[in-house]
Symmetry: C2
Subunit: 216 residues, 2 copies
DNA sequence: GTCTATAAGGTGATAGAC
DNA sequence: GTCTATCACCTTATAGAC
């Protein structure tokens, strides 16, 4: 059973459909507003407006603003982890580095840019949120980092990644290139596919023409 | 005359030294606090505490919280632009792409990670700040983007950058890899030089070993 | 489940003494 | 130049009617 269900489902499965729908509406509204304005600048009234209810009604579903934030964060992170893991698992066992990187980058970017605001909210505002909330998200984040760490380490051991590459630093540089897309990329103005393709070019081969390779 | 002076200097050069020093202290405090907590979550009391004055005294130097933010942003952006431009100008006219990229990446990262909180505040919280403030920063940001656009375009025309690279997308991916360093890199835990070196490896050649290059 | 009313506290900003 | 005192407003959260 995937972890997803624990995070995505409402606590009680037997709750009436209306309640579940409203809860989802609130979460959607919160994710979008947090993403756009940041956590502190978002008021419960902003969220309530977007969800078409009164601010006080939020407390029927969530104990506090922080609780709501945690729910949004959990869903957002779990979605990336699931998407990247699932698509990678679908690859043949003898898939190349290029194929594995390509699939992972594409899944990551799609979650970030197309699949709603939960993931992008998590990525964008994580650094400016109460430390207590950050701490609770660490396990899930490390889980995801671990996936990439393994992917890159295996490839370096097999000789597909050059030995002078520092995998710890490189992983964060790659995350940066991808995550920063929330700040500028607009799926309506250009296909995510093309961004993913360029990101693969960068990560695998860089931008320099052959024969003009850097010495050291 | 560099634009710097207009932004860095106090309005009136004839103001007593004490006033100028306090102003600088406030700016330093604001940059650090904005950077760490975000704009909305930072109160004027936070800044006043860090600057060792009372909140009301801030209004002797700045009209409003937003004014203070604009001042911090302006300084931060101007510093990157100046640093990158100056160091690039010091290169010989026939410098290679690798040399130019290396110098630009190093200067950018040093401003971001070593040279104080103004630049990192700008980079980190820009997306979650009132739209009116963002708009005022656009000219300076475009100025910097223009520098990179030229650098990359010249290199692609001369054949140093492969033709299948989309320079618009690639520039943003590179910015992302670099800017994201504010979220994880700690100059006390590892030299910025090493991060810059790895970033150059990534940008110029990627991570793949030769002979394992991606087909398409 | 959702609402109105309201509490309790903090926020940016101003007035005016020193 | 810096302070204390204060204002008007907005925020999260709770109480209790419906």
């Amino acid at each position: 059973m995937p972890k997803t269900s624990a995070v995505l489902a409402t606590e009680s499965v037997r709750q009436p459909a209306k309640s579940t729908a409203t809860r989802r509406k609130i979460l959607d509204a919160a994710a979008r507003t947090f993403r756009d304005k940041g956590y502190a600048a978002t008021t419960l009234n902003d969220i309530a407006d977007a969800a078409e209810i009164r601010a006080a009604s939020l407390y029927y579903y969530f104990r506090s603003k922080e609780d709501l934030l945690e729910a949004v964060f959990g869903i957002g992170m779990q979605r990336v982890v699931d998407a990247v893991r699932q698509r990678s698992a679908a690859l043949p066992a003898n898939a190349t580095l290029a194929q594995r990187i390509e699939v992972a980058i594409e899944a990551h970017l799609e979650m970030l840019l197309q699949q709603g605001d939960y993931t992008s909210a998590n990525i964008r505002i994580f650094g400016q949120v109460p430390k207590s909330v950050q701490r609770k998200q660490l396990p899930l984040r490390q889980d995801y980092a671990e996936f990439w760490r393994e992917l890159l380490e295996t490839a370096q051991r097999s000789g597909e990644i050059r030995p002078e590459i520092d995998l710890g630093i490189m992983r964060m540089l790659i995350f940066g290139a991808l995550n920063w897309c929330t700040e500028w990329a607009d799926p309506k103005k250009g296909p995510v596919r093309e961004i993913a393709r360029q990101a693969c070019l960068l990560v695998l081969n860089g931008i320099a023409a052959e024969g003009k390779l850097r010495k050291k």
